[in-house]
């Protein structure tokens, strides 16, 4: 226990302080204000891998590390679409994930936001659309914001979340 406490003290807080002129940090401060304006509480996100190679998931996981500390600014990932305000969807949507994605979208309460993460989610990417893949996320559910990149960096993913909250939510088709 002593070693654990000593390690915590030794490393200290590595979350980059918002006073520094750092693009990621500037984004984070704006992000918090926007969320409070729109939702007045924590933003809850459900991540859905609709067929990705797992690269985008790795960068989404990085949002929770102490450098980006997404939870520290009121955004957290939840385990059910029923608890979510926003879906972060990755992948070219595969034919075999299509109905799961549609059902998760239907299970998310209104008003809801959808952000497509990564090149494949934006355009189908290298996998395109065909028999096995339906292609981009917008082919299946309405998308409020999209960020390309293979994979996009954690900063770019945060930026996409911001874009979605500043745009008016779409109504389900």
């Amino acid at each position: 226990m002593l070693k654990t406490l000593r390690q915590i003290a030794r490393i200290g807080c590595v979350t980059e302080p918002p006073v520094e002129a750092d693009e990621a940090l500037r984004l984070r401060v704006r992000l918090q204000a926007q969320i409070l304006d729109v939702l007045g509480r924590a933003l809850c996100i459900r991540a859905i891998d609709a067929g990705s190679c797992n690269g985008c998931e790795l960068e989404m996981q990085a949002l929770a590390n102490p450098f980006y500390n997404l939870e520290g600014i009121g955004i957290r990932f939840v385990a059910s679409p029923r608890h979510a305000d926003m879906l972060l969807v990755t992948g070219p949507v595969t034919s075999q994930m299509r109905s799961a994605l549609e059902r998760a979208y239907a299970a998310t309460p209104d008003p809801k936001l959808v952000v497509a993460i990564g090149e494949c989610a934006c355009s189908g990417g290298i996998f395109g659309a065909g028999t096995a893949c339906v292609g981009r996320v917008a082919n299946v559910i309405p998308v409020d914001a999209a960020v390309a990149g293979c994979p996009p960096s954690p900063e770019q993913i945060m930026s996409a979340i911001l874009t979605a909250i500043t745009a008016p939510p779409t109504t389900p088709m």
Partner: protein
């Protein structure tokens, strides 16, 4: 006949070192499989190929090499020309290599090549009524089922797990995968040979270097080109950085899944430091696009080397420190020790491979046993544990992460001068080769055949998760449901890489 006899009759094959291939008939196919299994050979991959005049089933085995180190291996590729399912089934080899079952099912649904083995359910393709999949039912008083997925809690890939439980105890787990099936084998066949590495890197995002290297190795083998020594070193640096990053991520997640959030923050901090150093050294956080046909796309300069060295210094101090904390934490030990046990005999019987195999005394590592350049010059220490539980798979990750830190240092010191990429001529139609790379999860195999005018005729990528997913079903038996996330994470198997 012995395995040596089968190998003696086989022809050398391009790609990874120690590859030989042999075309056999149905009787010899089964006899060879039985003989190889008896000698302790391991099944690396089994797949179908319908591009020739006669469709074929192919199987690659790791066999003991004559002479040299006791674990030195060679690869024997058996090719069996077969008739279509409607005519006649080919002899299955599940009896000798249990891991063959799902691979044979995939070959059947994708190419209509049906084996004689009993399980004829589809595997990767769900069809119009996916809910009709015939899960094995467990009967008895108080038995009930828990279906989980395809969408899982957390930021992870999709797949379905069906638990049959009594109270909290798991009697049986059955996996249902294929949700991320993207038709990549057909997609490869629409791409030029010199572009295929881009798709290979995106088959499984956490193993981008492993897959793109295996692909490039096959391509360079069939083009009869040796990459420059500097390129080989840079590839190995990339592969080891990928290994360290994944191990750091897993060690954090394994702490978190046992309720130790401290572990997640500490290790995710280290992983972020490593990704940032990787970006400074090689231009990207994840190494998609590093490996290109003929070499690597990005050179490592002095500033990049310094960034890597700084980061490796920090990892070298922090990882042992955190290991001590993990090892002394009674709560963590309580969750890890004895959880998800795969005893060595079971691991050998089922063909458990890669990292998880080494935690169950299956001490195989291609970097040592069948090394390609530059690993023959830079052999890592092979890490091994025998307990086969979560604690052992955690220990292997600590050992390998530290070993790879040292290895990257050695690889980056005194980099040979010269180009880091050479021109690759277009291989002739019909040329074939197999690439084989020990990625962080285990051996990745890529079998490649050239088509006309620089096209791909056939490309089959094989993920080590094929062998290990069925073993996870055994590892969970008699454990409690709440330990599943921990046990599952300790294997950390691929969905996308497996689903093709």
């Amino acid at each position: 006949m012995t395995g040596a006899d089968w190998r003696a009759g086989a022809m050398p094959l391009a790609g990874a070192p120690g590859m030989r291939s042999l075309t056999v008939d149905g009787e010899a196919w089964r006899a060879a499989a039985q003989c190889l299994a008896g000698e302790g050979a391991r099944l690396l991959a089994l797949w179908g190929d319908d591009t020739g005049a006669i469709p074929r089933v192919l199987a690659a085995f790791a066999t003991a090499a004559g002479g040299g180190a006791p674990t030195a291996t060679e690869t024997l590729l058996l090719a069996l020309p077969v008739k279509r399912a409607s005519e006649q089934a080919y002899p299955g080899i599940e009896e000798f290599f249990p891991a063959a079952s799902r691979m044979q099912r995939a070959a059947a649904e994708m190419f209509g090549l049906q084996s004689t083995d009993p399980d004829r359910r589809p595997w990767l393709l769900h069809g119009p009524q996916p809910q009709d999949y015939a899960f094995t039912r467990v009967a008895g008083e108080g038995v009930h089922e828990i279906p989980v997925g395809p969408i899982h809690a957390g930021i992870i890939e999709p797949g379905h797990f069906r638990f049959s439980v009594v109270g909290e105890k798991v009697l049986r787990l059955e996996e249902r995968l294929g949700y991320t099936h993207k038709g990549v084998e057909r997609l490869f066949a629409t791409m030029p040979l010199l572009e295929g590495h881009r798709l290979a890197a995106r088959l499984c995002g956490d193993s981008a270097v492993g897959y793109s290297w295996a692909y490039a190795q096959a391509l360079e083998g069939m083009a009869l080109v040796a990459i420059p020594p500097r390129a080989a070193r840079l590839r190995a640096i990339g592969l080891e950085l990928e290994r360290i990053a994944n191990h750091l991520g897993d060690l954090g997640a394994l702490g978190n899944d046992a309720g130790f959030a401290f572990g997640l923050s500490q290790f995710s901090r280290l992983k972020e430091l490593l990704l940032r150093a990787t970006e400074r050294a090689l231009g990207r956080r994840y190494l998609f696009g590093l490996i290109v046909p003929g070499g690597v796309s990005t050179d490592l300069d002095a500033a990049g080397r310094a960034a890597l060295a700084n980061c490796l210094d920090e990892l070298g101090t922090e990882i042992p420190r955190l290991r001590e904390i993990y090892d002394e934490h009674a709560g963590l030990r309580g969750r890890y020790v004895g959880a998800g046990e795969v005893p060595p005999a079971l691991a050998a019987r089922l063909g458990l491979t890669g990292l998880a195999g080494r935690a169950s005394a299956q001490a195989y590592d291609l970097r040592v046993d069948q090394p390609c350049a530059p690993y023959a010059e830079f052999p890592p220490r092979k890490c091994e544990a025998v307990a086969g539980d979560v604690a052992a798979r955690v220990a292997i990750r600590y050992d390998e992460a530290l070993e790879s830190c040292g290895l990257v240092r050695r690889l980056a010191a005194d980099l040979p001068e010269g180009p880091c990429r050479v021109h690759l001529p277009v291989p002739p139609e019909g040329a074939a080769a197999v690439g084989l790379i020990e990625a962080w999860r285990g051996p990745i195999l890529v079998a490649l055949t050239a088509g006309a005018a620089g096209s791909i005729r056939r490309c089959h990528p094989h993920d080590p998760s094929w062998q290990n997913w069925p073993v996870l079903e055994h590892a969970i038996i008699d454990n409690i449901v709440p330990d599943f996330p921990l046990i599952n994470k300790s294997f950390n198997l691929a969905y996308s890489g497996h689903d093709l």
